[in-house]
Amino acid sequence: AQSVTQLDSQVPVFEEAPVELRCNYSSSVSVYLFWYVQYPNQGLQLLLKYLSGSTLVKGINGFEAEFNKSQTSFHLRKPSVHISDTAEYFCAVSDVAGYSTLTFGKGTMLLVSP
């Protein structure tokens, strides 16, 4: 079984400032790692994923995340945020050997203000 912890339920930030959304996971098996974004009244959209290889992964909209196996973390970063980045962000894992069922964290609401 896996679990995902997102330490911040809400992160307020000013436009053009950098941001980091934190994610830690727990698993007894190898996992894939994901970040999804959810805009109001919309479904989940994949931002980026870590499957294997380089621990720094780049995604859409200028986001990137770094996989740290020793700290079991997968924090999401963006060097300069825009108003349009305001949304809910979910970290998720799936078992490498399973059916790709996703286990999500509780989400972090990113609030970007001018």
């Binding site: 997102q6 998720a92 069922t101 996703l102 286990t103 999500f104």
Partner: protein, 116 residues
């Protein structure tokens, strides 16, 4: 092409009513997942289909929840005798391949169920 669609987008039910939520996956997608997202929470897995076979229903919260995918495409999630704690957004996702390993899931917009 079209993405995953779900209907209705919003459903209000009185406690004790039965409801049926529909998911149309992307054409040709073998795998189909249902998730439940309570207010202020992340999505939680309910059940998984590979074609018409329901391979995992470990996340269904009670025997009032039932899902089917009889022809391996459209899926219906049915909730009998709805309770207030069933109020949530129900998300459907589909993916292309049946094999284990990474297969990107594409999500629908969800059905928001409110039980009064």
């Amino acid at each position: 092409g079209a993405g995953v669609s779900q209907s209705p987008r919003y459903k209000v039910a009185k406690r004790g009513q039965d409801v049926a939520l529909r998911c149309d996956p992307i054409s040709g997608h073998v795998s189909l997942f249902w998730y439940q997202q309570a207010l202020g929470q992340g999505p939680e897995f309910l059940t998984y289909f590979q074609n018409e076979a329901q391979l995992d229903k470990s996340g269904l919260p009670s025997d009032r929840f039932f899902a089917e995918r009889p022809e391996g495409s459209v899926s219906t999630l049915k909730i009998q005798r709805t309770q207030q704690e069933d109020s949530a957004v129900y998300l459907c996702a589909s993916s292309l391949a049946r094999a284990s390993g990474y297969n990107e899931q594409f999500f629908g917009p969800g059905t928001r169920l409110t039980v009064l």
